[in-house]
């Protein structure tokens, strides 16, 4: 476990020493602040609308950070050949995968923490409402959802050499699932037979990232989800994360790294 933590530490160090990470960070923070400034309209509809936009921004930024950072990890190690002195040490390839995953996931966690803190302060200063538990639930669910995404990207980065293709494909898949995931069953039922079966099968076999989206709870009723549902969803995310990491390990385990 110490080895995995050491590996994760390097991922995080790299991230906070890179400039592009800050650009996105500052941009999102600025936009959130700007959006918050609009709040003085005192029109409930506009306030909600603005909150919606802020949260969407947070979702997109977090996804970009998670996907782009993760997609680069293993290809960069191979390209700079840092993977060789690393793997020449008593560390297994499984530990390398786990360390990369953990580093990326923790880094996105920190980013989320900052984003939601910003969001809470901005909206709270206008509305004098501080529903911390609601924010915690929304951020937590988003974070465990990102664990699935990051594990999936790790898997992709083993098979696609170019980080850009891994990023693009991952982004399309994730946005696709988030966008039509919940409607897929309905869409399936409207299709003719072979298609109906295929779409239904996809519906049952895919990771349902859209279940983790609690934005509406934050924007509209500010009510809490039951904690047991949260725990269940966390377990579900853990299973999918495990599956993707396992597949990544299977692909990486016997890979010839010199080609």
């Amino acid at each position: 476990m110490n080895k995995i933590i050491a590996l994760a530490g390097v991922v995080i160090k790299e991230l906070y020493r890179r400039k592009d990470f800050y650009v996105l960070f500052v941009l999102t923070a600025l936009l959130t602040v700007a959006a918050g400034a609009v709040n003085f309209f005192h029109d409930d509809k506009i306030v909600r609308y603005v909150k919606d936009i802020c949260l969407l921004l947070i979702w997109v930024s977090a996804l970009v950070i998670a996907i782009v950072t993760t997609a680069r990890q293993i290809p960069a190690e191979r390209e700079a050949r840092t993977i060789f002195p690393l793997l020449a040490k008593p560390v297994s390839r499984g530990q390398v995968i786990a360390g990369k995953f953990l580093g990326c996931w923790l880094a996105t966690g920190v980013a989320l923490l900052v984003f939601y803190f910003f969001f809470a302060v901005i909206t709270g200063s206008r509305e004098h409402l501080w529903p911390w538990a609601v924010y915690f639930q929304a951020a937590w669910m988003q974070w465990v959802m990102l664990a699935i995404v990051i594990a999936m990207v790790v898997l992709g980065s083993i098979y696609f050499a170019a980080p850009s293709s891994t990023s693009t494909i991952s982004f399309i898949v994730v946005v696709g699932i988030l966008g039509i995931g919940s409607h897929l069953k309905v869409i399936a039922l409207q299709q003719p037979e072979p298609m109906q079966f295929i779409l239904t099968a996809i519906y049952f076999l895919m990771p349902h990232l859209e279940w983790f989206d609690l934005r509406d709870f934050v924007v509209y009723d500010q009510s809490l989800v039951s904690w047991s549902a949260l725990a269940l969803a966390t377990g579900y995310a853990a299973v999918w994360t495990g599956i993707f990491l396992m597949l990544a390990w299977l692909g990486f385990r016997r890979k010839n790294l010199t080609t």
Partner: protein, 250 residues
Amino acid sequence: MSAILKTEKLRVEFKSTEFRQAVKVALHGLDLEVNAGEVFGFLGPNGAGKTTTMNVLLGFVPATSGTASLFGIDVRQPIARQRIGYLPELTYYYKFLTADELLRFYAKIFGLTRAETDRRIPELLKLVELEHAAKRPIKSYSKGMQQRVGLAQALINNPDLLVLDEPTSGLDPLGRMKVREIIQRLKNEGKTVFFSSHELGEVETVCDRVAIVHQGELKTVGSVADVSAGSVNLEQAFLKIVGVQSQPLP
């Protein structure tokens, strides 16, 4: 005599990426034994299979058939690499880390204690003469300095066996002398050194035994004196074994 590093009938094939091309055989059943405490020179022309052999020993490339072990442990197990230090032929290190951070990271991977790490790192930085630059990111280092970082990381765990892939290639004469000095020092400490080279002059002075590989096959193995018997020097013996006649330029 116990073999610290051993390969048996080691065969490595590379599948060609191009469709329907023949597989490339990099090693044809290589048998190699390196004993405790010796400095072993692994010689051969470019493309002979030296790096490939080391890549198998370090677990980067799977053997097609045959076995390889370090300290009697199959190289497929990570623990086989606990007591080795490795210097790659050509590598960069994490550019965004400082030398100090890099060495600390590797120390953690080896499971060294904090106290051991704190003692070891200044020693190594002194050995490779990087004390003044230890807190600067590696991306600001010159090429020679990067190579010295490589040497320091190879020694972080105080290894019993060093695997060095062409440690002197790309170094200036001073750097080469330094590397030879370090090899000699390690030998005096009773360490085993396995290194590849195609520069025969320097091999003669430091090696206990040498092996010559050519086109993936072991051609000869023995002490420098044995191998060069019947020739003027090691270089002539090498050329004869590799089958190159010196030809007049066209």
